[in-house]
Symmetry: C2
Subunit: 318 residues, 2 copies
DNA sequence: ACCTCACTGTTTATGGCGTACACAATGTAT
DNA sequence: ATACATTGTGTACGCCATAAACAGTGAGGT
């Protein structure tokens, strides 16, 4: 894979961000290829996605695809951005980033004001109440939901995938949610990355199970049953055996829900810590110099008795 | 991949758990193949690991490998277990699970008491002070370290890899560490899985960067620089721009350290909650019946005023 | 000594993959 | 009408895993 050279390195960007030339003519077109590829990947997974099969599904030869797309990698980028444009559940109108839904060919929703000169990807409709935690959780859940519809999304690996408008819109929104917490920039980015990678990792787990079941014809349980002689050897591991007998594997936690809760808890703790630190490093309300924090007790508002007194006098007789 | 049928489903288990037949004869052997494969994967990644190249490296034909190993998948299983047997940093002697280091051919360490009838994998030397958190963190760090030595380890995907003795020993140890916290079985397993998947996901990130750099010859920075026209389009995303200008990407957090800290914080919180719950569900100190928890305030020690009074009298005049 | 047989390595072949390259058909601009 | 850009096709290359048939080699039994 990815053996092709980049004769025109900008081609990938333009395909994703360029105005969609939706010609109703017969024959191949970018969107048709992308659509067919998504269908195929939905059915057979990303490993089952091949240029040959996409072409077959469209009734063309393999090489015809290359007249529209530089190669397989760019096709995947386009597929990713396409599905990221699907609305999560309730349809949403334009947002603050000059939005207009991007799903090509037919926006499917009622057309709002057209901006059309540049695509900016689908963005969230409104802040949609709740604190950062509820919103971040919703983001994670929508990502999870999306990956249940399009499992291959979690299989997309590699760091050099060009983000399209919809991918960026998602990213922008998540960043804005976390940025509202007042965390420093580096940590905002880290939190968003952490959550995103978590969702992907968990989704990948499910994909792998499904994939193995599909193309082996044997369910996960049955398959492990086949490896009977393995389990006999596990008796000598005390913790393993104890947990097994306690039914730990019979009633497993939902690993997505469990992990998400732990992760959000961890982030919440970080935010609390930062808040405290900020308070402790607060400036004197009177003179502006930094207040040194006390080892315990209520954080001080003034740097010295003198300032405290000055402020008191001001309050009494302004 | 994985197109071979399982004529002998137990073969995989026996290869991993069977006594190592280390024949010093010339020619091929299981261990030689596994060693060569590990070298190759260390250099070229799991995607670069092919039966052809392994055979070439050993000076045999491709098909000769199949006389010793059912297929590529099983080879990967064997490689995984092999490297899991490497000692983390300080060499460790036998543990409680009838340990003996498994790294085949030559154990490399000073031989302790031989048990030898069955392999049980390398296990930790001792509880090695510190609470669950320090120990779990050490586990994660060792996993991280191992994946830096053998990056392909993170690339091993799929749910149907048979664990060998060393893999199981690691798992057993992590389970025991978390089990010590008193969490219910399902949650113990969930925590260990969560941490494990996190380490893998983060390691995979690095692998992907390195891999892309290696076989494209262009560094990550340079490559993204090539996509210049992308960044021009990102100006209209407010949060993205703000974080960019604030230098969020210039001084990024160490995503492994950051994520691990959040994760452990989240787990710690869970454990605290469970402890409180346990206290709240504590039994009456006098009569033993469960105490119903109050919505707020100090948890009650007695189920009723009557029991509280009885206990008080006992204390006064025993 | 001879035959048998298991073990080990080789040769050949099949079907899959991404894509480079030369060629053909078609519609548009000059 | 001619030149040209666009679009689709056919062939070919090198890579992958592995199935199947074949060949050499040494051990055991007769």
């Amino acid at each position: 894979m990815t053996r092709g050279k980049a004769k025109d390195p900008d081609r990938g960007v333009r395909l994703l961000w360029g105005e969609t030339e939706h010609d109703p003519r017969p024959g191949l077109s970018l969107v048709r290829i992308v659509r067919a590829a998504i269908e195929l990947a939905d059915e057979e997974g990303l490993a089952g996605l091949s240029m040959r099969k996409v072409a077959e599904r469209l009734g063309f030869t393999t090489m015809s695809l290359y007249r529209h797309i530089p190669g397989r990698d760019q096709l995947v980028d386009l597929m990713r951005d396409e599905v990221m444009g699907e609305r999560p559940a309730a349809p949403a109108a334009a947002g603050r980033a000059a939005g207009e839904p991007v799903p090509s060919e037919e926006p499917l929703g009622e057309s709002g004001e057209h901006v059309a000169d540049e695509r900016a990807g689908r963005v969230r409709a409104e802040p949609s109440g709740g604190g950062w935690r509820a919103r971040l959780e919703t983001c994670a859940r929508e990502g999870w939901e999306l990956r249940r519809r399009h499992p291959w999304l979690a299989e997309v690996r590699g760091t050099r995938h060009i983000p399209g408008p919809n991918v960026i819109a998602h990213y922008e929104y998540m960043l804005s949610v976390v940025a509202d917490t007042g965390l420093p920039p580096g940590e905002v980015i880290a939190v968003v990355g952490l959550i995103g990678r978590f969702v992907d990792a968990e989704a990948l787990l499910l994909v792998e199970v499904a994939q193995a079941e599909r193309h082996s014809g044997v369910s996960e349980q049955e398959w492990w049953g086949t490896q009977g002689s393995l389990f006999e050897r596990l008796d000598r591991y005390p913790t393993l055996s104890r947990l097994w007998e306690a039914g730990g594997w019979d009633h497993p936690e939902d690993s997505f829900e469990f992990g998400l809760a732990r992760l959000l808890d961890g982030v919440e703790l970080l935010i609390q810590q930062r808040d405290e630190t900020r308070d402790e490093n607060a400036l004197c309300k009177e003179c502006g110099t930094p207040v040194d924090r006390a080892p315990s007790g209520r954080p001080r508002a003034y740097c010295s008795r003198a300032c405290q007194q000055r402020a008191y006098r001001k309050r009494r007789s302004p």
